[in-house]
């Protein structure tokens, strides 16, 4: 059973990583990256590393998406002004 969970969690992580790369719009990629972070946290936990899982949760669930979305907003604002 433990092995089944490891395989499932790793497959989820691999799928999320692929999806994160294939989503070319950074704002939408941020959503997939957040799911990748959650998937990694599960994978770390089934690999019996709850410490690393906690670390990943803290960073991946809110912090990284917030930074990416703020960057996207800043960059778009700059571009919109340039076109005017």
């Amino acid at each position: 059973m433990a092995d089944v969970l490891v395989v499932l969690a790793l497959m989820f992580v691999a799928a999320a990583a692929t999806a994160a790369v294939l989503n070319r719009d950074p704002a939408r990629q941020a959503v997939v990256l957040s799911l990748l972070g959650l998937g990694l946290a599960v994978a770390f936990t089934v690999l019996q590393a709850p410490d690393v899982g906690l670390s990943q949760l803290g960073v991946g669930s809110a912090l990284t998406p917030l930074m990416i979305l703020l960057t996207v907003r800043k960059v778009r604002k700059g571009k919109g002004r340039g076109r005017e």
Binding site: R28, A30, A41, S61
Partner: protein, 143 residues
């Protein structure tokens, strides 16, 4: 065969898998709803794993997701969702799923754990999750 780990595997395949699909395709609204659903289910997965491995220390992960998961969804609701685009598809399922799945997971865990500090922690996680679910649904549907 450990039923708790079995439940976690089932949630992983049946809950988080489809959430990933929805989060990786379609419009912004659908993605944010999927992300919200994923964090709520993930919290339950961690609770089931903690029980399944027989390690109460793992409950801390569920505790952290219960507060940071909604925070993440609120980030997306604030910076990604278009205010005038209306109700995102699937948003009306959020509250029923949270309202059913959370007690369905937390109450059996409380019964198995028995009275004590661990049970109080489980109840706190359940309440945080319910409050977070309601608040994020409100934010996502504000649309």
């Amino acid at each position: 065969m450990n039923p708790w780990l079995g439940g976690a595997a089932l949630l992983l395949v049946g809950g988080l898998g489809p959430s990933l699909w929805a989060a990786a395709s379609g419009g912004a609204g659908r993605r944010v709803v999927a992300q919200n659903m994923a964090t709520l289910l993930l919290c339950l997965v961690f609770l089931l794993l903690a029980q399944g491995y027989g390690r109460t220390a793992y409950v801390d992960l569920a505790l952290v997701v219960a507060v940071l998961g909604p925070a993440g969804t609120l980030v997306f609701a604030r910076l990604l969702l278009d205010r005038d685009s209306g109700d995102p598809p699937g948003a009306r399922w959020l509250t029923p799923v949270v309202a059913v799945a959370t007690p369905a997971t937390v109450i059996p865990l409380c019964i198995v754990t028995g009275p004590g500090r661990a049970t109080v922690k489980l109840v706190v996680i359940g309440l945080l999750l319910l409050a977070g679910g309601v608040a994020t649904t409100r934010a996502v549907r504000r649309g």
